[in-house]
């Protein structure tokens, strides 16, 4: 089956990043051991939007997140994160930029020799500009957000997989970064825990208006995010009423054979005639 080209939103072509975009990929390619993983992909993440990235295993979804943070360098192309070309920046400058971006790794990547408190506080303690009392207050606030305040003195090994993901989210949001990157935050979790994580992501999106890239295998999670909004007053996620005026800032990006085959919102996705995508979402 030929790879269809269905970029429903125009990919970024210019080397200049529009002011409204927090992340722009411009003709980015990368190969590992001669295997091409991303082949000239372009897309942009507008401020305030969440973009869910899909694709089969090994299609380069997690690579996109690492590229966006400058953790790895592409073989070709440019990546603009918060207006900075991360492909041209030395590691020392990237450390500054990364402090404005939060990331939740696939396996949480909590520091196993530190307590939950120290994991969540890591970024604040490293910055060295916040006193211990303020750090403690913010750690508890972040843990309250993920409903894990009682785990503050525990070690990661004592937590379940879902709890570790939530601690990782708390660690990512403690400085209220402008952008969040989630790498399969619900992978391998039971449906109840997955829904809790999804609710946290929706809360972060709708309450704090954080832009985010979300890598996931679970299409149903993205559909929940597309059909729900967070009601701050009731402190819970609610279904978007049919015909309502609530706009959910969620877009979908689909990868195949190293290329972007779809980039658009839920309505475009539902109307696509591409067989591969229809099979994927069915």
């Amino acid at each position: 089956m030929p790879t269809p080209s269905l970029p429903l939103e125009a990919p970024a072509q210019a080397s200049q990043q529009p002011a409204n975009d927090v992340i722009v990929f411009d003709d980015v390619s990368i190969a590992f051991e001669e295997k091409v993983v991303l082949d000239g992909i372009s897309f942009r993440l507008p401020r305030g939007e969440t973009k869910a990235i899909f694709g089969v295993a090994g299609s380069g979804k997690s690579t996109i997140l690492k590229l966006a943070l400058g953790l790895i360098k592409p073989d070709r192309g440019h990546i603009y994160t918060l207006g900075e070309d991360v492909t041209q920046m030395p590691e020392e400058q990237l450390f500054e930029l990364r402090r404005k971006v939060g990331i939740v790794f696939q396996e949480s990547a909590l520091f196993d020799s530190l307590t939950v408190h120290d994991n969540v506080a890591f970024r604040l303690m490293e910055e060295g500009t916040v006193d211990a009392e303020e750090i403690d207050r913010r750690v508890r606030e972040a843990l309250r957000f993920v409903e894990l305040e009682n785990t503050v003195d525990m070690f990661p090994a004592e937590l379940s997989g879902g709890m570790r993901r939530r601690v990782a989210i708390a660690r990512a949001i403690i400085t209220q970064p402008e952008t969040l990157l989630y790498d399969s935050p619900t992978g391998g979790l039971d449906p109840v825990t997955s829904t809790t994580i999804v609710e946290l992501i929706v809360k972060q999106r709708d309450v704090y208006k954080t832009s985010s890239l979300l890598v996931t295998h679970r299409l149903q999670d993205a559909f929940i995010m597309a059909n729900h909004y967070f009601d701050a007053k009731a402190n819970q996620m609610r279904l978007v009423p049919p015909g309502g005026r609530i706009e959910v800032p969620l877009a979908f990006l689909m990868l195949r054979d190293g290329k972007v085959i779809f980039d658009g919102d839920l309505h475009h996705l539902a109307r696509t005639h591409d067989e591969y995508i229809r099979e994927y979402i069915s």
Binding site: K66, L69, L71, F95, F105, A109, F111, F122, E126
Partner: protein, 268 residues
Amino acid sequence: MAAGDFLSSIELISPSEFAKRKIQSVQDYSILAAQSVANLFRRPRYMADTIQQMDLIGFGSLQIVLASIFFTGAALALNSATTLRRFGATTVIGQLVSIGIIRELGPVLAGLVVAGRNSSGMASELGSMIVTEQIDAMRALGTDPLKKLVTPRVSATVVMLFFLTILGDFLGLLGGSVVATLLLGQDAHSYWSNAWQTLVFSDVFTGLVKPLVFGFIIATVGCYYGLSTKGGTQGVGRSTTEAVVAAMILIIVVDVFVTQLLILIFGS
């Protein structure tokens, strides 16, 4: 796994590719070693991490370093006595043990023991952090792993190996003294004055420069192999083994060059 499957799983690479990879490894190691030193002069400085590493590396290795050099000093005295008795010169055992331990055996043994214990520890700890994405997480959180993890280990190992060697040297002399007095019937005062008076500045200097070099090798090699880990838990095991082997071989080889260099400088 069948033999055919095993053979087909072995990666064959061309000699030029092999050479390229080795040169790349040397280059990466050199950069890591240079940055670990350069980071001493950059902020932030991780004093708490350095002190914690000093405790783990220094105090943690104290018993095995002291025990190994004590018994080596004793064995050296026994072996020397066998030869010296033929010439009726057993009174110079103190001199032989003193020169042997302080110039050579003290620093090398302390280095090898600490390498066996700590190069492997560093490689496995950092390797585990690599395979569980903790190093990537640290970079993503805006912290330089070289500053946070490597430099404290390097400075802690250099400082603690220096003091471990001094203590080890003393225990080595004590081991020789126990053999000389209890087994060979020598006068303890005679042994210690012989051992003390035979030492000149270059002997002590040589014995104190070597642990600084060896400490640097132990920590940088351990950290390099740890941070280069690939391939999950199996990779961590491989890095750990390779780190110990490389650190020990490097210590033995570099010892020859440092000894020759110092002989050239001091002329003896």
